[in-house]
């Protein structure tokens, strides 16, 4: 690229002016709060009280906070199952729909994508209506066919299963689109060569498809992991974290402690732990799947 800066004043000032609005907004509302959040985690801080520096006291308290650790383990369980099942299901959908050979493929892709268009609030409302104990359609059908109703959202373990299932239903289509793009980028010649060599479908899948899809799978894994650690809306609509603490995740707890109990310093310490978990998970995923994905 040619050197543009050598020209007049306008060409030197122009890029900075073009960047200015972005940097202002970004700095004031992302960078400054991120640093502020770190600082807050070492303080006692309420909306109407003067902040007080208390060292590591928040983190010491956090270590013994059983409710926090319950939400921590809930988040890990939710994340592990949601991410792994989304990857399997989205990959299955992508494999059924990437070849551009069968009729109606594009329509099917759009159909599977539709749940990803909906807000998690509306998804939660829809499924609460469907999974309701007494009046939901699923339990109605179960009773019609001679069975008994299932407490989808009111039994602790089942509520977590339901939340995970709905999360998969809501997001798989989005990751399917990413995987279809990845599958279509694999050169066809490789498959033709494999066919000539008489490789079985399974062999082709494990020897060609999976290795060449690795970086796309990594993208899906990282994105869906971050999404699962951020999960908030779906649970607040479907179970409010209940029954008891059965489906309460870290973000729920952060929100409650910060805004309902007005302990912003303590909640900031929780946020720092959440950020650490996200970073560790992301790093481990990059490490285990080999080289880093470059942003191309």
């Amino acid at each position: 690229m040619k050197q543009h800066t050598k020209g007049n004043f306008h060409q030197t000032a122009a890029p900075l002016l073009f960047l200015l609005p972005n940097i202002l907004i970004f700095g004031l509302f992302i960078i400054v709060p991120a640093i502020q959040g770190l600082r807050m985690s070492f303080t006692e801080w309420g909306v109407f009280t003067t902040p007080r520096f208390i060292g590591f006291a928040n983190f010491v308290e956090l270590a013994q906070d059983t409710v926090f650790w319950k939400t921590f383990s809930n988040t890990i369980v939710y994340s592990l199952f949601t991410v792994s099942l989304i990857m399997v299901y989205a990959l299955a959908l992508a494999l059924l729909l990437y070849k551009n050979t069968i009729k109606g493929e594009k329509i099917f892709r759009s159909l599977f994508y539709i749940p990803s268009l909906l807000s998690m609030i509306t998804v939660g409302i829809a499924w609460r209506f469907i999974l309701g104990d007494e009046m939901g359609i699923i339990n109605y059908l179960l009773r019609q066919s001679g069975g008994s109703g299932i407490p989808w959202l009111t039994d602790g373990n089942l509520a977590m299963v339901s939340i995970i299932g709905v999360s998969i239903w809501a997001q798989a289509g989005y990751y399917m689109i990413i995987l279809i793009a990845g599958l279509q980028a694999i050169p066809l010649e490789l498959y033709e060569a494999a066919t000539i060599d008489g490789a079985s479908t399974t062999k082709t899948f494990t020897a060609i498809t999976l290795p060449l899809l690795r970086s796309t799978l990594l993208v899906v894994m990282v994105l869906s992991t971050i999404a699962s650690f951020k999960a908030y809306e779906l649970i607040s609509v479907m179970t409010k974290g209940g029954p008891g603490y059965a489906t309460k995740l870290i973000v729920q707890q952060v929100y409650q402690v910060a805004f309902l109990e007005d302990r912003m310093g303590y909640a900031s310490a929780m946020s720092i732990v959440l950020m650490l978990i996200i970073s560790i998970f992301t790093l481990v995923q990059f490490k285990f799947t080999g080289k880093e994905q470059d942003y191309e």
Binding site: I25, F29, S110, L111, I114, L118, S119, I125, Y140, Y295
Partner: protein
């Protein structure tokens, strides 16, 4: 040949079963919103309404502040989208077509913050908005998330590939830097503008957490907030709620049907915020 036929049939059956599992829940909600209240939970349940009615839509539009929530959401989504597109396209242009000190550093910092979710910094953001007096203002929802790293990234990626000679030629003709941007770059950026605009609109329309932090005043709430409040009540009026839910879904479906190709290319182009 026969084997291929069997294979194709299985393929289709599988797709149809999965597509039904994907769509029936949405259809069930939409169809139920057209049932009269007396029919909603009446046994035996029927898939299609026995008697179609718009009563739930009429009553939810008349009840409380729903029209206000709707217009708040339209305002937030449209204005945010406009600002997001301009702010990110300008930044992407500066990073793509100018060479200056700190360029790479700025770009690296932006990409690095992709990993920081709003959920992690919502407390200090809340305090920052309080400092600026932006709580309970729609601008408090609109401005802070307008500069998105993904938007800058996509814009830069697109603009890098535009030929430098266009800009050079305009400069030789004496065009000012800003007029090069508005007269030449902007018109040539339609595909990427469309992509950023669509994802921005969708995200703003569906967003719940940001309005939740900023707005407590009932009259300033968005649709998603209103829906969440409605479903949080002890006695849920499901007929009205399903009608409101359908109203909240319609705009995103329309945008999707109108701009389908941008959706899929946009998702494939990068990890666009959904």
């Amino acid at each position: 040949m026969n084997k291929q036929k069997v294979y194709n049939t299985i393929h289709y059956v599988l797709l149809i079963v999965l597509a039904l599992a994907t769509l029936l829940p949405v259809l069930w909600v939409v169809l139920s919103s057209f049932k009269p209240q007396s029919e909603l939970f009446r046994v035996p349940l029927t898939f299609l309404p026995q008697k179609w009615t718009l009563q739930n839509y009429v009553s939810s539009l008349q009840a409380g502040n729903f029209p206000v929530y709707f217009s708040n959401t339209v305002f937030v989504a449209v204005v945010s989208t406009f600002i997001t597109v301009m702010v990110n396209l300008m930044a992407g242009y500066a990073l793509a077509k100018y060479i200056f000190k700190g360029r790479n550093l700025i770009f690296t910092i932006m990409i690095a913050t992709l990993m920081i979710p709003l959920q992690v910094i919502m407390i200090p953001i809340f305090l920052q908005l309080k400092n600026f007096g932006m709580l309970n203002s729609l601008w408090g929802i609109i401005i802070p998330p307008a500069a998105t790293p993904t938007g800058v990234f996509l814009a830069r990626q697109y603009l890098v590939n535009l030929p430098d000679s266009l800009i050079e030629a305009a400069r030789i003709d004496g065009a000012k830097e800003y007029s090069i941007f508005f007269r030449i770059i902007l018109p040539m950026s339609k595909p990427i503008v469309a992509t950023i605009a669509i994802f921005s609109f969708m995200w703003r329309w569906n967003d719940y957490l940001w309005p939740l932090i900023v707005i407590t005043d009932n009259k300033k709430q968005t649709i998603q907030q209103a829906l969440a409040n409605f479903v949080g009540q002890l006695q849920i009026n499901w007929s009205d709620l399903l009608a409101m839910t359908t109203i909240a879904i319609i705009p995103v479906i329309i945008v999707f049907l109108a701009f389908q190709r941008f959706f899929f290319s946009g998702i494939a182009a990068g990890s666009v915020k959904g």
